[in-house]
Symmetry: C2
DNA sequence: CGGTTACTTGACTAGCTTCAAGCCTTGTGG
DNA sequence: CCACAAGGCTTGAAGCTAGTCAAGTAACCG
């Protein structure tokens, strides 16, 4: 679910943004932290995860180069709901809240772009809420796949490679790996997905 | 989960907004419709619901007087994810997309306010995603109650009346009424909630 | 007082989770 | 080029929790 790109990194750097590298698995901010910076992904991939008390992990969102993250909590001054973690070696620009607000004041244009990016995010959160409300594992997985296909604007008919591991599908849908595997196997038999070399096409 | 109020109804009327009444239960727009108007609630209450194929109903959001609704889909030009339905007799202003866009162009101020309202909405959607990812019915209900308490900025300690019916709690959490009842009864025995005259305090 | 709405309880079932074990594939170092 | 480690995938058996269906009770309102 990549978001659109409302902010050029150049602007962020002009306003005093600083780049920082993160190794795979290292944390950019923790759930509960009070936001100080705006972040933008330059290279790599950053995921937003909720961890439940028993150590289970759920992926709330994934951010790609160009995407900004953490703005809602930053703007509201509320603690982060999720932890942001680099899912691969990543480069991130961070900009202090004060400078970010200056930037917003100076450029109504950017505010509008951000507004559209937020609209996109609300929209996809509503879709993912619908996914989580599905009662059967099959419907959840199908909803997840459909979201992915819409996000990368794939034609509905053509089968597309789902570039996620079983574990990642589980982390997105809130199911267990075994359930994902068993459901996919069944769906394969019923020709609802294709599994070739363990890769899933839908 | 009421949102802040970025738009005064006066401005909407100035830009050509038209008021319309809706009886309790009547639909403002349907899931799948292509958005044409921006809506603002003036009186009453409007809920956003997803209906699953078997007729079950899930409440995605509730809007109170002053709140605008349907902007994400409208701005993106995508079909509505949910159905908007008046949960009580309501009055709503509707403004055509074109005029809404004019309004945004004319008033950077309003764009900024909308941005903050969107931030609030993303934030609360993340919280509700976390709620849905909880595995047990008890944790879901507790997460829902906590969301409610935060929304009305209740002090965490004090017990607060939860102003929802069992059915509504079920519709928000994605559980069944019977499950909600059984879980609440158990939580009452374990002193995790208080039930007095069938009313729930948490 | 009668009808509607909300709440409650019980018995049964289905489906997801859990735990445990084993297999396949990929990449790395000797 | 082989061996082995590590991560991902798969399978089976058992348990438990939420869902379903059915029936009935309590509160509310005109």
């Amino acid at each position: 679910m990549p978001n659109s790109t409302p902010l050029s990194s150049d602007v962020l750097l002009t306003y005093g943004g600083v780049t920082q590298k993160f190794e795979k698995g290292s944390v950019i901010y923790y759930e509960g932290d009070i936001p100080i910076f705006l972040y933008q992904v330059i290279e790599g991939e950053v995921k937003l995860i909720s961890t439940s008390p028993d150590g289970k992990e759920f992926i709330q969102d994934i951010f790609c180069p160009g995407d900004t993250l953490g703005e809602p909590a930053l703007l509201l001054g509320e603690p982060y709901v999720c932890t942001a973690q680099a899912s691969s070696k990543s480069v991130v620009i961070k900009l202090s809240k004060e400078r970010f607000l200056n930037l917003l004041c100076d450029s109504p244009d950017i505010v509008t772009k951000l507004l559209f990016a937020f609209a996109r995010r609300i929209y996809s959160k509503m879709l993912s809420t619908q996914m989580l409300l599905e009662t059967s594992s099959e419907d959840k997985i199908k909803a997840f796949f459909n979201q992915f296909k819409t996000a990368c604007s794939a034609i509905d008919r053509a089968e597309v490679l789902i570039p996620y591991t079983r574990q990642q599908i589980a982390d997105f849908t809130g199911l267990r790996v075994e359930t994902v595997i068993r459901t996919l196997t069944r769906m394969n038999k019923e020709a609802k997905v294709s599994i070739i070399n363990r890769k899933v096409y839908y």
